[in-house]
Symmetry: C3
Subunit: 106 residues, 3 copies
């Protein structure tokens, strides 16, 4: 067994969950936030047999889109915080595949 | 050291935490939700020495109960969403035992 | 790649995040609570290459402070719950370094 921890954008949550259920994977949602932009996102815990690893990654690849978010930075040397919006690419998904020593449903 | 991640039902949280403290284990709660039924549950992070692994699993086994939840599905072919409640067994606990390369209290 | 899961006190969150960004690490915040004192804290998910492991631990060491919290316990044998505040040392940070089989940004 493996445990996937996938950080996905809020907007992709429904599609990602449905795609994972379609391959027979169960999911637990943890609500989370990104450290850089501070936006709310979701961390999915997906425990599955090794045989389903690639199918789960493909499901996330299909479901999770890349988007442009903007952050505003004040201009250097200016006495005023003048917004200068900087585009930041966010997503699809950031996935960690962790080895599991033991998986129990008790 | 090992890290247990255990998804438990809300109703079992107090008993599970007390049972884990009784075996000298520390717990961090993450609030979470199930992907299938959408109900709020809790994910426990339990870091402990390998010698306590079985005791922790036994504590969760004792504390976490199986319950029947109902989900309503519309009847196929009907123009009206007619609730047909389907029983779903939830719980005791779903536990992932993860190997830990390094454990630090800093 | 490795995945660090670090339970840190709320008060240290900003400093810890900034220190981790300074070493080029990305962070996801999960809001969490301690099982013993019940206080809200934060669990940081920090995925990084093995070469940055020590730098991340040093960043957390510098950012996260130890504090004294008080819990009140009723006096034994007393018919009244008489508060007897007990000092409990909390923090810096509790860190689990987990091996990662596969790290994907998709
Ligand atoms: N130090 C830095 N310098 C310049 N740009 C930076 C940066 N850290 C992040 N970014 C950019 O900002 C986006 C949002 O990052 P955030 O940390 O809010 O939100 C992140 C974070 O919550 C999580 N994440 C990504 N990589 C991670 C990692 N190695 N460990 C833990 N969480 C990660 O996934 C979310 C989306 O990440 P994604 O890479 O798609 O998108 C990132 C990336 O394009
Ligand atoms: N392999 C895994 N990886 C990550 N998290 C896991 C997991 N297995 C279980 N969980 C977590 O534990 C909760 C209870 O699961 P349980 O299997 O007892 O009880 C489940 C199971 O009896 C049933 N169920 C779940 N997925 C199903 C599916 N794809 N088809 C049919 N029944 C399903 O519905 C109940 C509630 O499921 P829900 O997803 O809302 O909530 C799940 C989920 O949050
Ligand atoms: N092995 C582990 N696995 C998972 N999470 C862990 C962990 N060790 C620590 N944590 C997390 O870090 C928080 C701070 O722990 P710390 O050991 O600094 O500070 C602890 C410790 O000094 C004390 N404490 C915890 N458990 C105790 C116990 N069973 N007996 C006596 N004192 C305890 O109370 C403070 C607050 O504990 P609390 O549980 O509220 O909050 C804990 C918990 O959320």
């Amino acid at each position: 067994h493996l445990l996937l921890m996938a950080v996905v954008q809020e907007q992709d949550l429904d599609i990602a969950t449905r795609a994972l259920h379609e391959i027979g994977a169960s999911v637990t949602f943890l609500s989370s936030a990104g450290g850089f932009l501070g936006r709310r996102n979701a961390t999915l815990l997906i425990g599955l047999p090794e045989t389903k690893e690639q199918a789960a990654l493909d499901a996330l690849q299909t479901a999770c889109r890349q988007r442009i978010e903007y952050m505003t930075l004040p201009l250097e040397g200016s006495p005023m915080p003048m917004p200068a919006p900087v585009p930041v690419t966010v997503g699809g998904a950031t996935v960690f595949v962790l080895p599991v020593e033991r998986f129990e449903q008790i």
